[in-house]
Symmetry: C2
Subunit: 530 residues, 2 copies
């Protein structure tokens, strides 16, 4: 099938959508029937409820037309079957194959022969699993013959935010399940205080700590500086750094097959940093911290959700529906920001990961062919866990002068099961009652004689929920968002898989450090002591 | 002096400002001279550089007119001398007196006689200091006669975000200075997994852990549920909870003078939650973690910065200038979001605290008298530390379709001093070089033949910087932002000191838990198992 790559504003369905601005009043339509019925089923027990979004039958029907006209599932198929979707860097986009085969085999030529992408990723996953099992079984030991008890990931951006958010999300679950194998820590910032702090937390156990150096290119400034800071420390502690460090990198990087590392695991150019959580970038630290089976379950949930994203009907494809509602909110309703609000302390850093995944993918101003676009693309994404956020920025969400669309995430059960009944309800019930109350409060508002106590309502939110946050549901949740971002990129007709906007800062930083800066830049640097 | 309380759009100076929209091209004006000269001096060595903001002599001159016409410093004086600035709740706003006297004594009648506000706050600070010194000196011990080694704050919103951000900011500094007295932890979320996680981290040292229960009203749902969860755990561990818990509350709360607590410390209704970091709410945990002298130094920096906020000239008043530039960006340029970007890992949670301080204060839709307003108020605030953010959401900041004003924060020296030279520069120099490079990249952009590699520039940022992040500079930094938010509230003519927008959610939550919900709310609750 020949794919069109048309700008959003050229789609007939989008023109229809524009005529449907402001059509739905949540106060008028949100009743019990709609709350129960406006729901799409994802994988691994994930539900996407959009009853409190500003849509109706007509808008949903035009969204289906937009999905068809923009060939969203066909473009997704082209992507997972190996088309060069990353036009700027002329690369395939294959992170879906990390968790399973969705279509035809993706084969390509390399200097060492024909490679099957899925085969390569699976081979690396098994290598990581084998290494982790040996560490846990005491077959890989430190110089003194002791087992390793802690693992520290050194990486930044995609090599940090996703793996860190996932480790935090599973820490409590793993402890309760008895699956906690090693403590996981992270060093990311080039600020030397970041590494110093982590080292000093671990100082008593440093001889039993394994470091994972993660850099696809092997040239990331922050990561290499932190590697040397750590190596310097290990050396001063009388330890052999090469016995304490593994690498996750590409096969062509300086870190590959390097005797400085106990082992090396690989990804390739078809895995973008922000989409690498399901590769060895996330796999090494997750497998070491919680065991390879937990990582496998996480991938299983992601793969099941990827299959959901193949559905052509928006009522059956949570990511595609979420993407279309987001585009309606951004380009028809004109909302510039979206908040992600997980009612789960385990997901405390999940919004920070989605902030990268979304803003780095879709914060673009030209289309995938480098042509102009005449509409807004990715919104600002932010969020903190509930109920904490309720006592913080929710004031503005309820009564501020802008409307901010919301995405709530909730679970019926806590991870630990530890709980207490106070005033007739458990903490978990209170958490979920708060979530339900917020959806209603934002949508329906409240009148009051005192103008300061009026809630205008009409503030849209969706709810993604599942029974419990497990490795499977977490994998499905991650894949839902990755695929939502991908579909939005298709709708906006942009390249969601490059990040040219990070280059200029790198170039100017090098100039400053080489003493070659001029004008204002030179002054700013000197003010900061450089 | 009689104060006017006029809406922003009625000010003559604001009408002039509106006519100055889009007047400044950063590419045209940003040179070495401007980079060095556009700077206001704050307290404790803080500098506010606004060279890369879209202002010029004319705009600054109209901003000064706006400051005078809106009587910003006169309103500030009224505030710190005890006027009822919090109109909705009919309360004074006295957090500045926590750190020093700025004007006339604030005296008011209570059932027990005339009270001097500053005297009361100082008495409480000294009581906290005395308690902390006794704990450190081993004069207050656990049941077995052992010293306490860890402290856990139980609180949410203002009782959590500020104190947590400050403890994180000073942890590394204190360790290097030898001022680290006790490990500080925090429990906030009603999600039972939050308390369970912290308890399990501390499980081996639980008998040597002191808990601080923080709730001004003594009725916060989350905090009381977590208190009982912790007490249940202490009881099961065979410990007497009343020997392990202190309270920070108001004198009229159920937690006051209560034998369930080892000691109680007090704040009053004139200290809003989000402005309570410099009260006993922050003071207890900071004094226990790092010693009362560190808390005192922190207050000293804040007080010095408060004095800076009394200056009538915008060129000498960093908070007022920052506030005016923010209003220009929000109401003239039309930017809906502001990012706070500290180049300091120690400030990793400082943006989350400012997110609350700003969005809860200024996310309002009616004026302080309950009348209508016809302009945007508080923007969305978000941020993560640099250089981490560079590898995450900066793509959108550089090349997205919206302009997001930025506030950078930087320090010439790291806190630890631990560092390494790689490729000719230390990590600290790399950190600062990155910061300088970003300011230039955002403002000046870059042309390119490839449209995907074009940076349009013209994206405004300011830079707050100091020699090093110490308790004094941290106090000054906090006060700068608190005062900026206050001045913006004065300009928008709103009440920055209530939070009516959090009430509806509380009411609906109670309905759900009492089984009294109906319609959509009842369905949402049942979907979540409530």
């Amino acid at each position: 099938m020949e794919l069109n790559w048309d700008n959003l504003d050229t789609l007939e369905a989008f023109k229809k959508l524009l005529s449907l601005k402001g059509q739905v009043s949540l106060k008028e339509v949100l009743n019990a029937e709609r709350a129960a019925g406006f729901c799409a089923e994802g994988a691994a027990g994930l539900h996407y409820n959009y009853a409190a979004k500003q849509v109706n039958g007509q808008i949903l029907s035009v969204m289906q037309e937009a999905a068809d006209e923009a060939q969203l599932t066909e473009k997704f198929k082209a992507l997972y079957e190996g088309a060069v979707i990353n036009t700027g860097e002329k690369r395939k986009v294959l992170h879906h194959l990390l968790r399973g085969q969705l279509g035809k085999d993706v084969l390509y030529e390399t200097p060492s022969g024909t490679k099957n992408a899925r085969g390569f990723y699976e081979e690396q996953r098994l290598a990581v699993a084998d290494f982790a099992r040996k560490v846990h079984a005491g077959k890989i030991l430190n110089e003194k013959g002791e087992t390793f008890t802690a693992v520290v990931q050194i990486g930044i951006g995609g090599s940090d935010l996703g793996p860190r958010a996932i480790c935090l999300a599973l820490e409590e679950w793993a402890r309760v399940q008895g699956a906690q194998k090693m403590d996981a820590h992270f060093i990311s910032n080039v600020d030397p205080d970041d590494a110093d702090r982590v080292i000093n937390v671990l100082i008593r156990d440093i001889s039993r700590t394994l470091f994972i150096l993660v850099s696809k290119s092997g040239t990331t400034q922050e990561t290499l500086a932190n590697e040397l800071l750590v190596k310097d420390f290990l050396k001063k502690a009388g330890l052999d750094a090469s016995k304490h460090m593994i690498a996750v990198t590409s096969e062509t990087s300086p870190l590959a097959n390097n005797p400085d590392y106990l082992a090396s695991f690989y990804i390739d150019d078809f895995i973008g940093g922000r989409y690498s959580s399901t590769s060895a970038v996330g796999g090494a630290v997750i497998s070491l911290a919680f065991g390879p089976d937990v990582f496998e379950a996480f991938l299983k949930g992601a793969h099941a959700q990827d299959k959901n994203a193949c559905e052509k009907q928006i009522g059956k494809n949570t990511a595609m529906l979420d993407a279309l509602i987001g585009v309606y909110e951004r380009n028809v309703q004109g909302y510039p920001v979206t908040a992600i609000l997980p009612y789960s302390q385990a997901l405390s850093r999940f919004p920070a990961h989605l902030q990268q995944a979304d803003m780095e993918s879709n914060g673009k101003s030209v289309n995938r062919a480098g042509g102009p676009i005449n509409y807004a693309t990715g919104p600002v994404i932010f969020g903190e866990p509930g109920t904490n956020g309720q006592h913080s920025f929710y004031q503005l969400l309820h009564q501020g002068t802008d409307t901010i669309p919301l995405q709530f995430i909730g679970f019926l059960q806590s991870q630990s099961g530890t709980d207490i009944t106070v005033d007739g309800s458990t903490s978990q019930k209170k958490l979920c009652a708060n979530l339900a109350a917020q959806i209603a409060a934002f949508a329906l508002g409240k009148d009051d004689e005192n103008p300061a106590k009026v809630f205008t309502g009409e503030r849209p939110s969706s709810l993604i929920y599942a029974e419990r946050l497990t490795p499977e549901t977490l994998g499905a949740l991650l894949a839902h968002y990755e695929n939502k971002i991908m579909f939005q990129g298709f709708l906006w007709n942009i390249n969601s898989f490059d990040q040219e906007g990070v280059q200029l800062g790198k170039i100017l930083t090098k100039k400053v450090l080489a003493g070659q800066s001029e004008g204002a830049l030179k002054v700013f640097a000197s003010l900061l002591g450089v």
